[in-house]
Amino acid sequence: SQKIEQNSEALNIQEGKTATLTCNYTNYSPAYLQWYRQDPGRGPVFLLLIRENEKEKRKERLKVTFDTTLKQSLFHITASQPADSATYLCALARTGGSYIPTFGRGTSLIVHP
């Protein structure tokens, strides 16, 4: 069956360090992979998208890598800040047909001052 796996344990890091979150998938041929941020009591907010033919994408302090051989995406936040504390969700959409995003469980990031 198709699975999207994100670390269920919270990631605790110190302010200023780089946070790295992982998204692994099986039995997918994704057209693209997205990362979203979700704050408590709020809906997810889109951060970055990376397509199947791209290896890396950057936006300000955010960087996403996509390895279709390893079936893995890494999401990096450099120079992390307490305000970056949130749950981060990855979502995949399959090639062909409708591009309906399927979400992982998300990983909680806690940045300590």
Binding site: I4, Y32, R42, G43, F46, L89, S98, T102, R105
Partner: protein, 114 residues
């Protein structure tokens, strides 16, 4: 520009009652979605629509119905509420062509069935 608006924000239902969760978007998106999110879990797709008049089942459609009579509105209907439907419901919309795939989410509806 309001984006995706969901109503109500909170609701408590008794077992067997019915209700409709409202969702409207003002971005002229063709795709709309309903997800549910249980504590510690990801978003599970209930139903989706690729345009007015077209709907399809997602991963967990049982106990729900939808309609899409206009581009803007995508209501979700619970006919006979059950405790298993206690969850947070999110509506989302997107263009979902290969160039524009970002999904915009509403603030969610927290539903408790007692």
């Amino acid at each position: 520009n309001a984006g995706v608006t969901q109503t109500p924000k909170f609701r408590i239902l008794k077992i067997g009652q019915s209700m409709t969760l409202q969702c409207t978007q003002d971005m002229n998106h063709n795709y709309m979605y309903w997800y549910r999110q249980d504590p510690g879990m990801g978003l599970k797709l209930i139903y989706y629509s690729v345009g007015a008049g077209i709907t399809d089942k997602g991963e967990v459609p049982n106990g729900y119905n939808v309609s899409r009579s206009t581009t803007e509105d995508f209501p979700l209907r619970l006919e006979l509420a059950a405790p298993s439907q206690t969850s947070v419901y999110f509506c989302a919309s997107s263009y979902s062509d290969r160039q524009n795939t970002e999904a915009f989410f509403g603030q969610g509806t927290r539903l408790t069935v007692v």
